[in-house]
């Protein structure tokens, strides 16, 4: 953060740098969010899409799979029934010969031994008369018995070689069915077998759909014939209702799979196939949880991928956003520091991209600012001895104006009379208050006239005219500055005298060539003038009595058309071998308290005149 050295804008109290306000929506969050979404959104879309299409394919596959399972189950049921039919076929291979019933009976008994599902068998000859009846339970019959020519089984077998009777629940429990088979020749007669369908259980229980699925068989009238749970079958008609309903639903679904609720309340998916010869419907059923196990696994996989992807995206987005916003924050901080005036601050970014470029530009800017600051510091120093207008002029124009050069200048020297005696007597605060009033008055005049105040020295003051700012008539300007200075100080003198301080003010002006320029050292540079003219002005000032403005010959010559000047003859001035011609500004004595009260006007008029001329 900011160094304590920078803290309060001690050096630039006027500059407002906002405290570190965190933005409401930071760049980091924006970048992070955008990058994260950019990675995660396609990932989610992809995964969801894949899951959906996977589900669709699985759904299609499941239909086909269950159909195939049902078909295979139907084939096995069919094979079972066909097997029984074929076995029955064995007992109708010999023609009936009168009195030869015994071999037929043995055939029938062997069939019973061979086919457990056959409970009893009736052999009928070509005339439709019962000849042999063999049963596992009832007593066997042999010889001519009842005429069964009109029996449905006999008629059916005669017409179609094989006849399948309806399924009936014996004692409302066990499903039975009659199969009648006719011999290839009418003389072989017909075998009518009573089949206990409970024995299909061995077949149906062996059919597994997937791991936990199963198949069951319902006949056309909706009776459950076979189920791996035999007790479902043994419940008879009432137990078949639900199975029959499922069968109708599947018939309505036209071959596609249907979702049902299984025994244990588990959802099951079912498909059906019809076993054509017996007219039964075989239904294959599988728990949904198992049927959709692979798609569920795929969904979990997709979810896991999304999570991993999101995590990676978050890390990547964090890294990138950080890489982005880090340098920007660094730049912001740099701008803040420089804003706080710490121009030597430099930013180091080596991201190799535009941000690094920006940092380089920023550093260049800071360097430019340093140079410009140095310049402005120099100008500030100038302002101490130049009127603001003058300083501005200097600021706007060439700095070379301040460089040392020979120039025709008018030097004005003023100083208080009897100040040394006063300062020896008076208290320091009184002296300082008096000096302060005095400087203020002088300063105001100098500023008004855009003259150059080179400095105060105790009670003395030195003002330059025509340097560094060039004037059209330096002499006249100088006289007017002097008149105003005298007027301003004299108005103070009245107050001072009233307090008992016998202080006066005298001015000397001289004009001539001098060397002007800045002299000094780091932190203290003054603008000054060196030359004879300066000495002369100082000497003239020394000779001037209170209220007087003494000028040299050059000045007098320069203003004689505008200001009344009276020659005072020649005087020998200290430091000069020859006596000098001295002039005084007429009415220049502006002392208000003790003499020439009525002559206070001319300087005022002169000032107004000067304004017009400059």
């Amino acid at each position: 953060m900011r160094s304590p050295g920078l803290e309060p804008n001690a050096r630039h109290p006027d500059r407002i740098t906002s405290p570190a306000i965190r933005p409401r929506r930071s760049l980091f969050l924006k970048y992070f969010f955008t990058l994260f979404v950019a990675v995660v959104a396609p990932l989610i879309l992809g995964s969801v899409g894949e899951a959906w299409f996977g589900y669709r394919d699985q759904r299609l596959n499941l239909n086909e799979l269950l159909q195939a399972e049902a078909r295979s189950a139907a084939d096995r049921i069919q094979t079972f029934i066909d097997g029984i039919r074929d076995q029955i076929g064995w007992v109708v291979q010999f023609a009936w010969i009168e009195g030869e019933d015994e071999p037929h009976k043995i055939d029938a008994e062997r069939l019973l031994q061979q086919v457990p599902a056959v409970v009893s068998i009736t052999l009928v000859d070509q005339t439709g008369t019962e000849r042999v009846f063999v049963s596992r339970l009832g007593l066997n019959r042999i010889g001519r018995g009842a005429n069964m020519a009109q029996d449905q089984a006999v008629l059916g077998a005669r017409a179609n070689q094989v006849w399948y009777g309806p399924v009936l629940y014996r004692r409302n429990s066990e499903p039975y069915m009659v199969i009648a088979v006719a011999g290839s020749r009418a003389a072989d007669g017909i075998a009518i077998a009573d089949i206990n369908l409970k024995l299909i259980w061995d077949v149906i229980a062996a059919i597994k759909i997937g791991n936990t699925g199963h198949a069951f068989v319902v006949d056309d009238s909706g009776r459950l014939i076979a189920h791996p749970d035999i007790s479902q079958v043994l419940r008879g008609e009432p137990g078949s209702v639900a199975f029959n309903r499922l069968k109708s639903m599947l018939a309505a679904a036209n071959g596609s799979a249907v979702i049902t609720t299984g025994n244990a309340g588990k959802p099951m998916v079912a498909a059906s196939v019809r076993a054509a010869n017996v007219g039964w419907t075989v239904i294959a059923q599988q728990p949904v949880s198992e049927a959709f196990a692979s798609i569920r696994a795929a969904l979990w996989r997709a979810l896991a991928l999304i999570l991993i992807g999101a995590l990676l995206a978050a890390l990547l987005a964090y890294w990138l956003a950080h890489r982005m916003s880090g340098p920007i924050r660094q730049l912001e901080e740099g701008a803040q520091r420089i804003g706080a005036g710490k121009f030597d601050h430099r930013i180091t970014i080596s991201s190799g991209d535009e941000l690094e470029q920006l940092a380089i530009r920023f550093n260049e800017m800071a360097e430019e600012l340093t140079i410009s600051k140095e310049k402005s510091e120099r100008i500030n120093r100038l302002k101490r001895f130049l009127a603001p207008q003058v300083a501005e002029l200097v600021e706007q124009s060439d700095e070379r104006m301040l460089e040392g050069q020979r120039r025709e200048v008018a030097a004005i020297f003023g100083d208080l009379r009897d100040f040394t005696a006063f300062s020896a007597r008076a208290a320091p605060d009184v002296i300082m208050a008096l000096l302060s009033e005095y400087y203020e008055a002088i300063g105001a005049v100098v500023t008004r006239h855009e003259a150059t105040l080179t400095g105060f020295g105790g009670d003395g003051v030195m003002v330059l005219v025509n340097a560094p700012v060039v004037r059209t008539n330096p002499a006249l300007s100088a006289i007017r500055v002097a008149i105003d200075m005298q007027a301003a100080v004299q108005s103070l003198v009245v107050g001072w005298r009233a307090k008992g301080h016998a202080i006066g003010f005298g001015i000397g002006i001289a004009m001539g060539p001098a060397i002007v320029g800045t002299v000094g050292y780091e932190g203290r540079i003054d603008y000054t003038a060196i030359g004879n003219v300066i000495n002369l002005a100082s000497r003239l000032c020394g000779s001037a009595s209170d209220g007087e403005i003494l000028v040299d010959e050059v000045v007098a010559e320069g203003v004689k058309d505008n200001i009344p000047i009276e020659p005072l003859g020649v005087r020998l001035l200290k430091g000069y071998d020859r006596p000098q011609q001295i002039f005084a500004v007429a009415g220049g004595d502006l002392r208000q308290s003790h003499s020439q009260e009525g002559e206070a006007c001319p300087p005022v008029a002169a000032v107004a005149d000067d304004k017009q001329g400059s």
Binding site: Y55, R59, E109, L139, S173, S231, L234, S256, R296
Partner: protein, 344 residues
């Protein structure tokens, strides 16, 4: 079984979400590694020790109890850990089982398995599921409404003894066409005994055989009955299957051999003990399958919904050793192709 009308639409409606919903905890566990799944599977085992009342008029060692035990073992039950038997035997005396009823009323019993005539003593039980193995008709006995829908707390197996009674006479006649007189040993205390005798009588009449009815009441009269049988000069002997004859099957078989009488019994256990022939359902297999019902009932299914089972396979057992002793091998050989079990 309940069929819902919920259908998977071809593709249109969103079933994917539905499939997602189907992704139950189990999947998550499977994903997590399956360790917990193993625990869940173990949790499906019986959580407590079931108490099973075994009520019988047979005697020990009891082959039927062994069949039932084997069946339970097959279904994953361990005796002592998953279930305990409370054995109540009243050999040949169903009346003695009355005290079992009072014990049942005290509760704490999960299942009653009654074998044979013992079921008659159990008809008063209403709170506890009862599994029976009857030779007679449970509908006649009044313990079930119908075979398909028992509707009460009783279910089990019936052996079709009545239907087979005539068949046994016929088989004897088939083997011994010269059979004229047949001694019929019957326990009058056995439920349905009269019907069985009636059916047998009808068969003998149809086959031209004279039946000699030798009734006895309970085990106490058995010796007397055998003495009678030895005096009637029968050509063969038919013994009705029941608890008493089952208990004394060896004695009966030996009696028949000593009297040089071809014998016909109801169950193959009699042939194992030396009887010549038997025709009937496999008792042991029936008790074995009864264990499946026991399992289902212990898992919470109602006996009312479990149809009474009837044996699918009827066995003809021939003891060739006895045939040799009796010198009837030739006659018996005509029957061998029909036999399901031959003891050599």
């Amino acid at each position: 079984m309940h069929v819902s009308i919920l259908r998977i639409p071809s593709f249109g409606r969103v079933s994917l979400a539905w499939v997602w919903v189907q992704m139950k905890r189990r999947d998550f566990i499977a994903l997590a590694g399956g360790a917990m799944w193993a625990c869940a599977a173990r949790a499906q085992r019986p959580t407590r020790v079931y108490r099973i009342f075994w009520v019988s008029t047979e005697s020990q060692p009891d082959p039927f109890l062994e069949g039932f035990r084997e069946g339970l073992r097959e279904r994953g039950y361990t005796e002592g850990k998953d279930f305990v038997f409370d054995l109540h035997y009243a050999t040949g005396d169903p009346g003695a089982l009355q005290q079992v009823l009072s014990e049942l009323k005290r509760g704490n019993v999960d299942l009653v398995v009654s074998s044979g005539p013992a079921t008659r003593a159990m008809t008063a039980v209403t709170e506890v599921p009862v599994l029976f193995a009857l030779s007679g008709d449970p509908v006649d006995l009044g313990v079930v409404k119908s075979l398909g829908q028992p509707g009460g707390n009783f279910t089990g197996s019936t052996f079709l003894s009545l239907e087979l009674a005539g068949k046994r006479v016929e088989l004897l006649k088939d083997v011994f066409p010269e059979l004229r007189t047949l001694a019929v040993l019957s326990n009058t205390d056995h439920p349905g005994e009269q019907s069985e005798w009636r059916t047998t009588k009808q068969a003998t009449q149809a086959l031209g055989v004279d039946p000699i009815y030798i009734p006895y009441f309970d085990a106490g009269e058995l010796d007397k009955a055998l003495e009678t049988a030895s005096k009637v000069h029968a050509d063969a002997i038919l013994v009705f299957p029941d608890a008493v004859t089952m208990v004394h099957r060896t004695k009966l078989a030996e009696f028949a051999i000593s009297q040089r009488l071809p014998s016909m019994f109801g169950w193959s256990e009699y042939c194992d003990a030396g009887g010549l022939l038997s025709y009937g359902a496999n008792q042991r297999a029936t008790y074995f399958s009864l264990a499946t019902y026991a399992d289902r009932i212990l898992r919470g299914e109602k006996p009312a919904d479990l149809p009474v089972e009837r044996p699918t396979k009827i066995e003809l057992t021939v003891n060739l050793k006895t045939a040799k002793v009796l010198g009837v091998e030739r006659a018996i050989s005509s029957l061998l192709f029909r036999a399901n079990k031959v003891i050599e």
